[in-house]
């Protein structure tokens, strides 16, 4: 599907609705995420940003509408199947495997790219070992990229908050996703950690060509790094466009600051 700016879209959400009992989380939301760009979803608390992300990654099944990735419908697929299609994700509240070290977390990220089954892992020497070493090399590249070198054997539960967020980003990246969903990657960070994270997000988009969908509350960051922005309010999309267009949109100002402004 062609976009106004000429790019083809990697993810199309068309008329998606989701209700939880009487609560309308999303109503007829449509977005087109252009390939290789940074796409931000913003909106006040409870606007339905995370539930939209949860539908894209397969935790919720939409009540109506369709979600297509690379032109193919992914409606009704399970989260692990969607991961196999090449959609990675991080969580708002860090969801690392705390019993494991940084390296093991990132190796887990490559689960979908590895093949070892139960029987060959019992034997280990031979095929499994070769696979482990090959994927370890890829993970080490990523550890270099995220500057986690001295922490690779550190238990993730003991890391500082900002570092945990970075490890989670690394775990999602390890699967080499085409599309990366980041749910508030900078929430709760100090200025310095935020700057680091912004740099990583930009580098991922630029060097790896990964498309990024970002939920973030820090308007400065969003306006700075996003190519396109969709604004949700009370479950509905109220605006969609470049940062400048969104900033000038009266409905966005109303949603954020109230009607009397």
């Amino acid at each position: 599907m062609a976009e106004p700016n000429g790019h083809d879209s990697i993810l199309s959400v068309r008329g998606v609705s989701k209700n939880f009992g009487g609560v309308r989380a999303n109503n007829d939301v449509s977005i087109e995420v252009p390939r290789g760009k940074i796409f931000a979803i913003i909106g006040p608390n409870g606007a339905g940003k995370t539930s939209l992300l949860n539908m894209i990654s397969g935790f919720y099944v939409p009540d109506a509408g369709e979600i297509a990735f690379e032109g193919k419908s992914i409606n009704g697929l399970k989260p692990n199947e969607i991961a196999e299609h090449g959609i990675g994700r991080t969580f708002q509240n860090i969801a690392l495997f705390r019993g494991m070290n940084v390296l093991q977390n990132m190796m887990l990220g490559r689960h979908v790219l590895m093949k070892t089954g139960v029987l060959s892992s019992f034997v280990y020497w031979g095929k499994t070992q070769r696979e482990e070493v090959a994927h370890r090399e890829k993970v080490e590249e990523l550890i270099d990229f995220l500057r986690l070198n001295d922490l690779r054997k550190a238990p993730t539960g003991e890391l500082a908050y900002g570092l945990q967020k970075r490890v989670e980003l690394g775990r999602a990246l390890a699967a080499e996703p085409e599309l990366l969903l980041l749910d508030e990657p900078m929430a709760g960070m100090n200025q310095e950690e935020k700057e680091d994270m912004v740099r990583y997000v930009l580098d991922i988009a630029e060097q790896r060509g990964t498309t990024i969908v970002l939920i973030e509350h820090d308007m400065g960051v969003v306006m700075d790094i996003s190519d396109r922005i969709a604004v949700l309010d009370q479950g509905e999309k109220i605006a969609d466009g470049t940062p400048d267009e969104v900033r000038a949109n009266p409905r966005v100002i109303e949603a954020y600051l109230g009607a009397d402004h």
Partner: protein, 360 residues
Amino acid sequence: MFHRECGYYKTSYQGDQAILPFPIAKQAIFGLLLLFLIVIPFFANEYYLSQLSLVAIAVVGALGLNILLGYTGQISIGHAAFMSVGAYTAANLVTRIEIGGEQLPFFLALPAGGIMAALIGLVVGIPSLRVKGLYLAIATLAAQFIIEWIINHTPAISGGAAAAIEVDRPALFGWVMNEQWELYLFVMFFAILAIMAATNLVRSRVGRALVAIRDQDIAAEIIGINVFKYKLYAFAISSFFAGVTGVLYMYYFSIATYEQFQIVVSIDFLAMCIIGGLGSIVGTIFGAFFIIMLPVVIRIVMESFGPYFMDPSYLPQVIGQLRLIFFGGLIMVFLIVEPEGLNRLWQNIRNYFRVWPFSY
């Protein structure tokens, strides 16, 4: 001479991922193998050899349970039932199939018992897809009683009213293992095999996926792990180990009887995992050693010192009760003081000596 990283530089990822990354660890394992495979069978008396054989068998079963409980985070109170499945499967195969006048050899009976247990384990594992924690505990508890009842009440499986099937000693190409040291080496071989298999499992893709399910099942799904499939894998693997354990018990005692596989045995194995350390291979070995050897130690201590403060005729009864008291008490002590079990104690000792005699 201690477990120290200092001075050893790894030049390959393969070296970094090795089970024994330091020369000291390789020497220690070599020493232990020498001790357990050559020195002990030569010098230990029959009684200690038999107790160590029981430890070796228990290690196999406890590893299976720890893969399920410690690594995947799914509880099972029916572990002994899977052992009975393995034991009765093998016992039936061995007594009914004859090859050249001999009973079916152990190297066929053993995997057969394991595979049968794994299949039953898959079925019992299905509730784990829907329920967690206490509810899963109850579901597996039900499995324990159902399997026990079925075996007891089906003469075709249990071999008649006594629900016991006698089998010959294991034999390898005409060499019948009658002596205690032969049986000891027989079970030790499978214990070592099980330790290697479990170690390899937990350090590769499947093992990591299991731990991911234990730590964060939602995040496990998002990175592409099929949680249902891997939970069932965990049950099948765990039951396979249990089935093999059952077959080893059968060969060791030359009989398969349901009395060896009652609920108490399931609890014993849970205790091995908890006291040894959940999610630790080394801890599992410690745990099995501890639980099997505890009664032996109590008996020795009481027989040496008991007569000083009580009538010697009471001793046998007291020893039996003391075992239960210590057993329950120690589980409580471990849950409160060191929930991570003997493995944590071992690591603390090791870490202390990493920089000894300096502070850091």
